[in-house]
Assembly symmetry: C2
Homo-oligomer: 141 residues x 2
DNA sequence: GTCGCTATGCAGTTTACAAAAGCTGAAGAA
DNA sequence: TTCTTCAGCTTTTGTAAACTGCATAGCGAC
């Protein structure tokens, strides 16, 4: 029941881009160094983000990645689901066929509730908000 | 970001006991067979539950396990935390030392919120409630 | 054009941990 | 005593995450 590194790195990456001036292009090498993330691993993650059009790729000299959308329009849920696909706390919340008596399984029911709450939280917050939090905290200290 | 088998099996085990007449003793072999759980694995899980005094062990012939408390008094959170220790969606929500700039990390903040919500849900439901859900569903069908 | 830089995509390898099994012992009842 | 059941430890297995490497392709600069 933990976040994976891929999810963590992906979020850190897009947050990094969100703080840049809109439309600017940043190479992976810069992000990887700034956030201490293995570059090749980050590349793989950004491929998913690129396919989900959360991020736009630019090849060649002075290439890299830029945000494809306004950070205000991108929810955390979108980022996380692009990386790992839809969430499921337990396998059978997804596919009732796995356990025969799923319809009687109260555990399954409870986890569905928890799952929905969790997804809701991720859906309720955008990248722009997170950047705001960060700034707010820094200005206090 | 998924439930482990240990957590799932542990919950199924205590739910099984919750449905029995209060105070009755059930051997692991019975639970393991009824729920299709590897017996030795279940034994390990029940050791944790026993140490947390959620369950009471009885050795010898006709021994086994019984619930140590009224199912109404045991929350799902207690069961889960006995098995795996306190929850943390991300390592640094637990220990700020891990990432230096934790105090500026908005991701950490969001995950703390999510974590609290999740724990709250598990805290709000008891074993007795889950058993009720199960019965309610069965009577409908 | 061609050269260097950057992402793309696939095929690995390594690592970590969950899941499971095995074995020896201890407690307890008959 | 003897059988049954849990206790506790070690070891094995399986699998997915985490990470690496390389060959390729697109793009810009020159």
């Amino acid at each position: 029941m933990q976040f994976t590194k891929a999810e963590e790195y992906g979020m850190l990456g897009v947050l990094y881009l969100s703080e840049k001036t809109p439309g600017s292009i940043t190479p992976l090498s810069e992000i990887a160094e700034a956030k201490a993330i293995p570059e090749k691993f980050l590349a793989k993650i950004f491929q998913s983000l690129s396919r989900a059009t959360i991020v736009r790729s630019h090849r060649g000299v002075r290439g890299g990645f830029s945000l494809a959308k306004d950070p205000k329009e991108v929810t955390v849920k979108e980022v996380l689901e692009s990386i790992h696909g839809p969430y499921h706390l337990i396998k059978c919340t997804n596919n009732a066929d796995i356990c025969e008596k799923a319809e009687y399984c109260s555990l399954r029911e409870l986890l569905s509730i928890a799952e929905r709450k969790l997804i809701q939280i991720f859906e309720d917050h955008t990248l722009a908000e997170l950047v705001e939090w960060e700034k707010a905290k820094q200005s206090v200290s």
